[in-house]
């Protein structure tokens, strides 16, 4: 049932139990998944607004684009690998392949951690070259967007640690499966955001 049909109901006429309250798509999702979706909506707004301000500021005459450290390409590959590994873990969880799930999960977390280290190296390189946050707005924005993204990924790693401990403790499989799935969705989201941000950084 679409949300519009639900809103057309005439509650003053109908009496008695109405059983299809979960008719709306959003309502039949697992609770945690809906919670994650709501959070992704919030995070999308955060990143969109950052990009809008970036685009606005970019137009000013004093904007001096900075050279993107080459390590960013490597980082992008790492993040893609991380996302793929988690997707693999998700599929393995659905199929009940415990070993592959563990391996995929570890790999995904490891690549994500490596990505964060790589981002930090990129920062170091820029600072060594004298591209401080306060020398040019382009630099400030570079640090801002990469830091915002990294903080989101760090939050994801907290969820990842919790999922890993669930796997280790041997928690019921459907719950592990849901946790892994949520991690994978969040990773794909952050990968998408990163690719968009990276394209933006490259072309400006």
């Amino acid at each position: 049932m679409s949300i519009f049909r639900a809103l057309m109901e005439k509650p003053w006429i109908e009496q008695g139990v109405i059983d299809d309250i979960h008719g709306i798509d959003l309502e039949s999702l697992p609770t945690a998944k809906l919670g994650l979706r709501v959070f992704l909506a919030v995070a999308t707004v955060v990143f969109s607004l950052t990009v809008v301000t970036y685009a606005d500021r970019m137009l000013a005459a004093d904007w001096r684009a900075l050279p993107e450290p080459a390590v960013l390409w490597l980082n992008t590959v790492l993040l893609i690998a991380s996302s793929i590994a988690l997707q693999w873990a998700r599929v393995s969880a659905e199929r009940g392949q415990e070993d592959r799930l563990r391996f995929g999960l570890l790999l995904g977390g490891g690549f994500a951690f490596a990505f964060l280290v790589g981002q930090f190296m990129a920062w170091q390189q820029l600072i060594d070259l004298g591209y401080f946050a306060d020398t040019n707005p382009a630099n400030a924005f570079f640090f801002l967007v990469t830091a915002l993204h990294a903080v989101h990924l760090l939050g994801g790693l907290v969820a990842w640690v919790r999922t890993w401990s669930k796997v280790r403790r041997g928690v019921a499989r459907d719950r592990v499966q849901l946790s892994v799935e949520l991690c994978a969705i969040y990773w794909h989201f952050l990968l998408l955001i990163w690719v968009l941000l990276f394209v933006l950084l490259l072309f400006t």
Binding site: A6, L7, M8, E9, K10, P11, W12, E14, Q15, G16, V17, I18, D19, D20, I21, H22, G23, I24, L26, E27, S28, L29, P30, T31, A32, L34, G35, V38, F39, A41, V42, V45, V46, L49, T50, T53, D56, R57, A60, A61, D62, W63, E94, G96, A133, D134, P137, A140, F141, L144, L148, R173, D174, Q177, L178
Partner: protein, 602 residues
């Protein structure tokens, strides 16, 4: 062990809410301090919000003392005054009203009204409160950093907010921004809960369109807040960097005390856009819960179904959507393109349509109702009058040509205090009086309640009606003291002094409210189970006041909407939502086997 295929794992049985693993407090600390029970969290939110609100109330009295008697209170210097103004505004709008409506009323009422045992993520809900408390503490701590709290005005406009000369530029502004960021993080945690609970944890038979309007208001306001607060978050992060790291997100090339600063190229207007992209929805984040609650109060205390329920829901949703496209009407004097202003003036006037519709529907609900002038009803009626008052001045200010001369005068102050200060507070008081028996099991002292109402209601008009007039005279807002002008008569000062006296009286009168609440909660006489004879689920719980898990062994089953008042064929003039229709046996409740409707095939 059976394997669960993804397709089945996705399906929740249609009629039922899955039984939640109810969190079970083991000790006093987990029951009352680090509690995961939404009802306890609601009380914690409310106490904290009202506590910090009292600080803001005292600040407003101090400001009024300065304005009314500028030569008498020499201990208040201009820096203090700006700090009072800033903290008063920010506390009232965010730390009091937003937190109280969503964290307080939302936490208490959403699970009870939709027939759920608790919020869906109780642990996250608990974190939400503690981060909110931390945000409040950081905010209050800014009084103890060098230079004191920020005095940049509640809008925190750069560049002045972080430059020397503005009080609190040393550390107060950073404390404010950090506190706001914390608040937003905490709120997001709560907001995830409110939205998900409303969408997924409703009991059997509680369709979206059977929800009380209170839930609709809080739900929509939460969605707005989740989408609007990120703008403030981004703005706060950027301004913190400008202040601490010397970046130039918002800072143009500027001279401070004759010295050229390193800043350059930033756009202060960008901050204004970010701020008001949050700031205008914020008005409705406060107003929509008030709309919802007041609809229920009016319906219950006028013993009449709400007029035009569907339109009320659509109006709430419509206002919520429109509130995102009006923000720049706060910026007509920022030098924007007139066409841009014209666009925003148009959207601003359009938003009056659903809003007026709601006012008509409240009035039509009262029409031929059996009005009981209880204390909550008095506050509800006061809300309608006040909201119309403040709303209509909003229509004036929404037009560019009228706004430009009135901008930054007391007229604007009067307008927004009426529409989003006094009006929502009337609902806050009405709501607290209305649900006080439910929360405490005691009845408040009605006489004291009425005294509190009349002083607050009449006092608010004696304070803010004159401010409209002062605004017309050209008295500017944010001025520490009016020097000699050629256009403001001396009599304006007499009016100012009058306003100050009333402010202090109304401020002190709030002690009556606090006394009444405290005394009644401790020693009041026990309330009946459903003293207002309301239909909604929160009054139909097994325990009174509702205990752990809200409802007894079985979740209630809902058979009708929340406004079955004066239904023919019933003895009482109201039918609770969970009472089966005449001649039908009661359906099995939530906890037992999922109802007879289609189950996914095994």
């Amino acid at each position: 062990m059976t394997s669960i295929t993804p397709a089945q794992a996705e399906l929740v049985p249609p009629a039922e809410v899955e039984d939640v693993e109810l969190y079970d407090p083991k000790s006093w600390v987990t029951k009352y301090v680090f509690s995961q029970d939404a009802k306890v969290i609601a009380i914690q939110y409310s106490f904290t919000a009202i506590g910090v609100g009292l600080v803001a109330l005292v600040l407003s009295s101090l400001m009024r003392l300065q304005l009314g008697f500028p030569d008498f209170f020499t201990i208040i210097d201009p820096e203090d005054y700006y700090q009072f103004i800033t903290m008063h505004g920010m506390i009232m709008v965010i730390y009091l009203l937003t937190a109280l409506f969503l964290g307080g009323f939302g936490n208490y009422l959403i699970p009870l009204m939709v027939g759920a045992r608790d919020m869906v993520f109780p642990y996250v809900n608990m974190l939400s409160y503690w981060i909110y408390l931390l945000a409040v503490l950081v905010l209050l701590a800014s009084w103890f950093v060098p230079g004191g709290p920020t005095g940049a005005g509640w809008t925190l406009y750069p560049p002045q907010a972080i430059l020397a000369g503005t009080p609190g530029a040393e550390g107060g502004i950073v404390m404010m921004l950090v506190s706001l960021a914390l608040f937003i993080i905490g709120f997001t945690m709560g907001g995830l809960n409110y939205v998900t609970t409303v969408l997924q944890a409703r009991t059997r038979g509680m369709t979206l369109m059977r929800m009380p309007l209170t839930v609709w208001g809080i739900f929509t306001a939460t969605v707005l807040a989740l989408l609007a607060f990120p703008a403030l978050f981004v703005g706060a992060v950027m301004m913190t960097l400008d202040s601490l790291l010397g970046t130039s997100f918002f800072m143009p090339s500027i001279v401070e005390f004759g010295e050229q600063l390193e800043y350059g190229g930033g756009s202060p207007i960008l901050f204004q856009h970010l701020f008001w992209f949050f700031g205008h929805p914020e008005v409705y984040i406060v107003a929509l819960p008030a709309f919802g609650i007041v609809s229920d109060l009016i319906s219950v205390h006028a013993r009449r179904h709400i007029f035009g329920y569907r339109m009320m829901v659509w109006a709430i949703v419509g206002i919520g959507a429109l509130s995102f496209v009006v923000w720049a009407h706060h910026m007509y004097v920022s030098g924007m393109n007139p066409w841009f202003g014209f666009f925003f003036a148009t959207t601003t006037l359009i938003i009056a349509v659903p809003t007026a519709l709601k006012v008509y529907n409240w009035t039509l609900t009262l029409w031929k109702g059996n009005i009981r002038l209880t204390v909550p009803m008095l506050f509800a009626l006061a809300f309608i009058v006040t909201f119309v008052n403040g709303g209509i001045t909003g229509l004036f200010l929404g037009n560019v040509v009228i706004d430009v001369p009135l901008s930054d005068t007391m007229f604007v102050v009067a307008h927004f205090h009426m529409v989003m200060g006094v009006a929502p507070l009337m609902v806050v008081f009405g709501g607290i009086y209305h649900w006080f028996p439910l929360i405490t099991g005691k009845m408040f002292n009605v006489t004291l309640g009425k005294i509190h109402f009349w002083i607050t209601f009449l006092g608010a008009y004696m304070i803010f009606l004159p401010l409209h007039y002062l605004g017309f005279l050209g008295v500017p807002r944010r001025y520490f003291e009016m020097g000699e002008t050629s256009f403001i008569p001396d009599s304006a000062q007499t009016l100012n002094a009058f306003v100050t006296v009333v402010t202090v009286i109304v401020g002190v009168a709030q002690l009556i409210f606090l006394y009444n609440m405290a005394r009644s909660a401790l020693k009041g006489k026990a309330s009946e189970r459903n003293p207002w004879q309301a239909t909604t689920l929160e009054w139909q719980t097994e325990d009174f006041p509702p205990g752990h898990g809200n409802f007894g062994n079985k979740l209630p089953v809902v058979y009708r909407w929340a406004y079955a008042y004066g239904v023919p064929g019933h003895d009482a003039d109201f039918v609770p939502q969970n009472e089966p229709p005449i001649g039908t046996p009661a359906e099995s409740g939530g906890e037992s086997v999922p109802g007879g409707a289609a189950q996914p095939a095994e």
